[in-house]
Amino acid sequence: MTELLLILCLPLAGAAVLGLRGERTWAAEANAAFSLVTFLAAVALAARVVGQGPLVLLSELFFVDALNVFLVTLTAFVGFTTSLFSRVYMRVEQQLGRLTGMRLRLYHGMYQMFMFTMLVALLTNNVGILWVAMEAATLATVLLVSLYRTPASIEAAWKYFILCGVGIAQALFGTILLYLAAERVLGAGGSALLWTHLHEVKDQLEPTVLGIAFVFLLVGYGTKVGLVPLHNWLPDAHAEGPTPISAVLSGLLLNVALYAVVRNKVLVDAALGSPLPGYLMMGFGLLSVLVAAFFLFRQKDVKRLFAYSSIEHMGIAAFAFGMGGPVAAFGGLLHMTAHSLTKSAIFFAVGHAAQKTGTQNMDEIRGLVHVSPAVGWGLMVGGIAILGIPPFGVFASEFVILTTAMRDHPWAAPILLIGLGVAFASVFSRLQAMVFGDTTAKRLPHPPALLPVFVHLALVLMLGLYMPPYLAAWYRQAAAMLG
Amino acid sequence: MSVSQAVLQLFQGVLAVAVAPLVLGWLNQCRAWLQNRRAPSLLQPYRVLIKLLRKEMVLATNASWLFRLAPYVVFACMVLAGAIVPLVATDLPFARAADVIALVGLFALARVFMALAAMDVGTAFGSLGSRREMLIAALAEPALLMVFFTPALISHSTALTTIVDQFSNGALQIHPSMAFAAVAFVMVLLAENARIPVDNPSTHLELTMVHEAMILEYSGRHLALMDWAHALKLTVYMGIGIALFLPWGMAHPQNWLELPLALAALGVKLALAGAGLALLETLAAKMRIFKVPEFLGMAFMLAVLGMLVHFLVET
């Protein structure tokens, strides 16, 4: 109870404080401090849930089980490390004169607000509030994407706003349909949207209504996940916003949107009793992997490159959850974790690299190891990890997903492999030139904030080599929920 | 056919013919008020008709019999339409002919004669007007038919009297599809009666005129008949609109006492319709002629939509 209140109130208080005083010199430290305490509270909550089992709190408004507490911890962790990175990064941006005090205030306030909406979306028991929080997350980040006020960034933010707004409206329609079906079983009123109640009666819900509802929910939240063909906003928003925002969009927002889809899928699966929702997700997932892999090939901007890589990995995770079954769900959850950690680490490294060279164009970024060995190696190791090369966690999860696909859906495995192969070829060649190419540039004047990068990468490495038994038990618990 | 029915029939025919210029006068008056002008007298159209009837007629030297016949045919068509559309009562002997499809045909007959007569003399304006008129008609007619189909589907009949009987006597029932049909009908009415935004009856600007271009060669008695027919057409259209969308207050069969009431109701409804039309015409701007197909296309679409809504919501 205390932990939950802390998790929710701290970011909100942080948003209030930083929204008023976010331009002060101590704001970045305060941002990190708020995030740190939130993370500690999340760890405490996770410990309690793993020990005591699921909790329903605050007159059933919030619900914590193994699945969402795991994502809460991940979200709070990445939120914390990103705030460490952003402390250094944003200070340099300010020195370069790209940001005024007012914008910095907006940035810090909205950063905490975004964390708050993410955590509400994860913790709420009400699928309606889930929708509200997802929409609020868009609202919180949209002004951050246009923070630099360049034509390109405003265009990206507008696209992000309109596309996600339209998408999320479809999800609301899906939620209304879900409520329509639930009302017939649970009666009108508040309880018909509570996930715990819905979960109890999930096999009595009207299949036709839920089938149609799921299509809308998948399209709606799928837009935020960045599934092809609804992905158009994603590369622009990632490329044009400040790098810490790219990191949390990729590492957190996409995860939470996927979580929303998966939560609803559990209900729809039971009501329909057919594999249709799973096939839909698998289809979207495979399409995302393939299309994103081929688009990777044509990118020139380094942040767009990794944005497409995010689409690809979200496709893999969606495919895994689409297959269903505890093993695939385990793979999906592991993939979400590994991707989230790796991708944010990459964005940290890319952020420093782009700041150093003053461009995001990959052809102009060369020889990072000479400029700053830490940034160069961070990017290289991160890149290798995200491409699924052993012994990193992404390899482990992709291996689990691929072997499950070969067993259950042999037709899908080659498609997946082609996607991974193309992605590997196009990212690896770029990476090599960027990291080891010749350069005349001088060494970086600012000490980069590389603690987060290497902490993330170390964690991903650990996930690939050795999984602590309690972590494995936790994953299994969450996967069983979805199975 | 009983005597009383025949009397009623005759009465309604005369009523329609007599009241038509008044409706036009009222419309003009409302428009003048809305546009902050001093309104002409309510009786102005009558004065114009009388003046024209007294005037000498000038005929083009190459005018054929068609040119001379057309005003009578057009006027007769409109009188017939005015007699069969149920204005005050449904129990009319001729009303069986008031099939909505037949009505569309009747209007088409009048239009064909008018267009042919306009081309007969061979002036540029005449053929220009009739060409434009045919363009409008070709689009307005299907839209009008579609408008009629929605009430016909609801009442399972294409006879106007049956439709009115069903709507006015049954329990109060709201048909959402009729809202679409009503909007489409108003759009067709504007186009068919040469009102703004499709045509402007009060100018003779050669770039835009449609109806006025067609009757440009007429004078004296012929022009009076054409103008009168035009006013009658407007009244009949309003009558059809009232019958379809506001049918309450019609006199029941064999009930003579209700007739004054029905007359009063008709008066009020026509006055309201006229005022509404004047408002619409004041608010709208005349559109360019090549936008008219778009306008009527929308009317058609709305009418189709009305039918769809009927099928999907009301059955």
């Binding site: 408004l61 009400n126 309606g128 509030i129 929708w131 929409e135 609020a136 609202l139 949209v142 002004l143 246009s146 006020r149 390109a152 405003i154 265009e155 990206a156 507008w158 706003f161 309109i162 707004g165 339209v166 409206a169 609301l172 329609f173 209304i176 349909l177 409520y179 329509l180 079906a181 009302e183 017939r184 009108a188 508040g190 018909a192 949207l193 036709t208 209504v209 149609i212 590369p235 622009d236 044509r298 | 109060l172 709201i174 048909h175 959402p176 599809s177 909007v183 197909p293 778009e294 296309g297 929308m298 679409m301 709305l302 189709v304 939509l305 769809l308 809504v309 999907l312 919501v313 009301e314």
Partner: protein, 221 residues
């Protein structure tokens, strides 16, 4: 009040919603578009009121108040202010091939009626046909957003879409739970403010509110 009569009134209001959606699709003038949006909000409010009166659902009165304040008064006012401040009062835009767009809209109506048909059969509420109409209005608003180039018109389309969703919620399920409705209303309000901020940012940067100037990124995938 007798139930079939109420059902008919709600059907009528639903048809009006759809009619206004079509009118918005065809309306070129920005200011008229906003007026139509306010009118749609009024129809929505009236519909919620009818449902609230009939079913004696007290929580629906909050929605009535919320709708009245937000959709009929506040949002149109904000939009009109924005339009005035940006000097767009007389702005009109070309809307492509209108008959073709209308035809697409009719197809969308048929489609959504077909999708909603099985659901409507199940809905125990007095308003069976309205779900299809709500869905059609939503898709038409979506179509409007696609066919418009001006940022303000796109936003009106977005808000009209939200109207349609709200209509679906009230007529198909007698309104969502209070918490959710409040949350949605808050999102819409904040969203409109952000849109307002955006209009100025876009104009400042591009000297135009035509989103065609926002197509630089479009070429790059």
């Amino acid at each position: 009040m007798s139930s079939p009569f109420v059902g008919q009134v709600i059907d009528l209001l639903a048809a009006l919603m759809l009619l206004i959606a079509f009118a918005m699709l065809a309306q070129r003038r920005l200011l008229r578009l906003i007026h139509l949006f306010a009118l749609q909000g009024a129809v929505l409010t009236l519909n919620t009121m009818v449902v609230a009166v009939t079913l004696v659902q007290s929580h629906l009165w909050f929605s009535v108040a919320l709708n009245l304040v937000l959709k009929v008064i506040v949002l149109p006012m904000i939009l009109i202010r924005v339009v005035n401040r940006l000097g767009l009062r007389r702005d009109a835009e070309s809307v492509g091939n209108l008959p073709f767009i209308m035809l697409v809209a009719v197809v969308l109506v048929i489609l959504s009626f077909n999708v909603a048909l099985p659901i409507s059969r199940l809905a125990g509420t007095i308003t069976r046909g309205t779900l299809g109409i709500a869905m059609a209005s939503m898709l038409i608003a979506f179509l409007m957003m696609i066919t418009r180039r001006k940022a303000v018109a796109q936003v009106v389309g977005f808000l009209a879409m939200e109207n349609a969703l709200f209509f679906a919620a009230t007529s198909a399920t007698y309104g969502m739970p209070m918490v959710v409705e409040l949350g949605i209303a808050l999102d819409v309000l904040v969203g409109t403010f952000i849109f307002g901020i955006f209009f100025f940012q876009i104009r400042e940067t591009f000297d135009s509110l035509d989103t065609r100037s926002l197509e630089r990124l479009g070429g790059r995938e």
